[in-house]
Amino acid sequence: MIEESNLTAKRIHEYLEHGNRFDKRDPEEYREIIIECGISKKSEGSAKVKIGKTEVWVGVKMEVAEPYPDSPDKGNLMVTAELTPLSHPKYEYGPPKFDAIELGRLVDRGIRESRYIDLNKLCITEGEKVWQVFVDVYSINDEGNLLDAAFIAAIAALKDTKVPFYDKKEEKIDYEKPSKEKLPLTENEPFNFSVYLIGDKFIMDPTQDEESASDGRLVLALTPTKPISICSMQKSGEFEISEVKFSEILDSVEKVHKTIFPRVQKLIKSSVKNGK
């Protein structure tokens, strides 16, 4: 079993030496992306995203809560991810393990640091009551690059979100009352790139086998300013990276962002429209 996967990893390295991948994609090429919003009626907003055979579902729920002491006039954001045993035999039940915690934190950081959600507008009474936005991620089928899929699904679900009706006098939320109030979002829509390092090459949108064969990944969230800004980043895994390689990756994500970001934006837009 171990020998077999070592062989696969070796092959992936050999292929990449010539710029090739098993499924004939270019190193920076994504698989087909499918987005569907409004997949769960009880959520405030929801979306499922498929990248190739990888599938992730995200739902947004909102509650009224106390603000954090250091941001009394801002709404709260909380991202939780579950890597479900339904989606791959390697996942197990029990308290969240590092992979799930990291995934939630990376999605959280990209959304938070981009200031994509206008949290100031989610304050109800300063210091007392604010909206709490829960973004919950569930893996349905993990065939690699769960993080980018989860990120796109989170953005799509936020765009699909309607703020529920809150009765200030009664201090109660009426989830059943239809709402047209959209979540306050800004222009800074983040897009996440997980760049996987394999030997001295790097690829985007890895399959499960490619992920296992990699040394680690560099995760970057970009916002569409001019020029492009990087709003969060994390090197994840035990590997070394030269400054030259690092610049190459930055150039590459900036280049790929130009085509994939408008494409994904368009997909989300038509799906949000279809869902309503």
Binding site: I39, S40, K41, K42, S43, E44, S46, K53, E55, W57, G59, V60, K61, E63, T80, E82, T84, P85, L86, S87, H88, P89, Y93, P95, F134, D136, Y138, I140, N141, D142, E143, Y175, E176
Partner: protein, 239 residues
């Protein structure tokens, strides 16, 4: 006021629109989605595979393990991720219901894992979960001696209804609502699961079980068709 007309206009013995789809989780050995109207369940089956830890292994036969979980956003009030008393109990009753249909004698020391997820809930989630799981088990090719189908029967005041919604579950007039979730084997027509919340006479309960059995027969045809459709499609692709 007697319950003379259902909230959503269905006939008393009519289920909501049922959809069944096979093969929704490509990584799994078998998988399916099953829905009663707005109640949706996804099930994935992995196994038979070696069971760890070893002390849980049964040298006589393989074991079936079921886990039922609702997604946090499947209901109005967000559910905290992780197991609850409710989900733990539903996992077990689903396991009991399904285990009686599987034949795992040939697979000692192994486990068949069934994972059920509820992304959207409007009552009867355990029934939708069991129905999805039955299809997924068959899709995975797990040896089975019979096929399990599940439905909830309600008694609204004095009126029996099939496939209860959340709105009906909360009905309070007259004798109120009694909710009876039950599962049957298709061929033997034996009960493999029953749970009841409410108040009902023995005579009425017998009626409810009869209605449940008849309703399950119709649901089974939809489950069977979903499996047949995917088999036909796979055969076509092989050619």
């Amino acid at each position: 006021m007697a319950y003379t007309k259902r909230f959503d206009g269905r006939k008393f013995d009519e289920t909501r629109k049922i959809t069944a789809k096979v093969g929704v989780v490509p990584n799994a050995d078998g998988s399916a989605m099953f829905s009663f109207g707005d109640t949706v369940a996804i099930a994935a089956v992995y196994g038979p595979k070696q069971l760890h830890p070893q002390h849980m292994q049964n040298p006589e036969k393989g074991i079936l393990r079921v886990n039922y979980q609702m997604m946090s956003f499947s209901v109005s009030e967000r559910i905290r991720p992780g197991p609850s008393k409710r989900s733990t109990e539903i996992s077990k009753i689903s396991e009991w219901a399904l285990a009686s249909s599987t034949l795992l004698d040939e697979f000692p020391n192994t486990v068949v894992d069934v994972h059920i997820m509820i992304p959207q809930a409007d009552a009867s989630t355990r029934c939708a979960g069991i129905n999805a799981a039955s299809i997924a088990l068959a899709h995975a090719g797990v040896p089975m001696k019979d096929f399990v189908t599940s439905v909830s029967i309600g008694k609204m005041d004095k009126q029996m209804v099939a496939d209860v919604t959340k709105e009906e579950e909360d009905y309070e007039e007259g004798e109120g609502a009694t909710d009876i979730a039950m599962s049957f084997m298709n061929r033997s027509e034996n009960l493999v699961h029953i749970q009841l919340d409410g108040k009902i006479s023995a005579k009425e309960l017998k009626e409810a079980v009869e209605l449940g059995r008849k309703t399950c027969k119709r649901i089974y045809e939809i489950q069977k068709k979903a499996l047949k459709d995917v088999k036909d499609m796979e055969e076509k692709n092989d050619k």
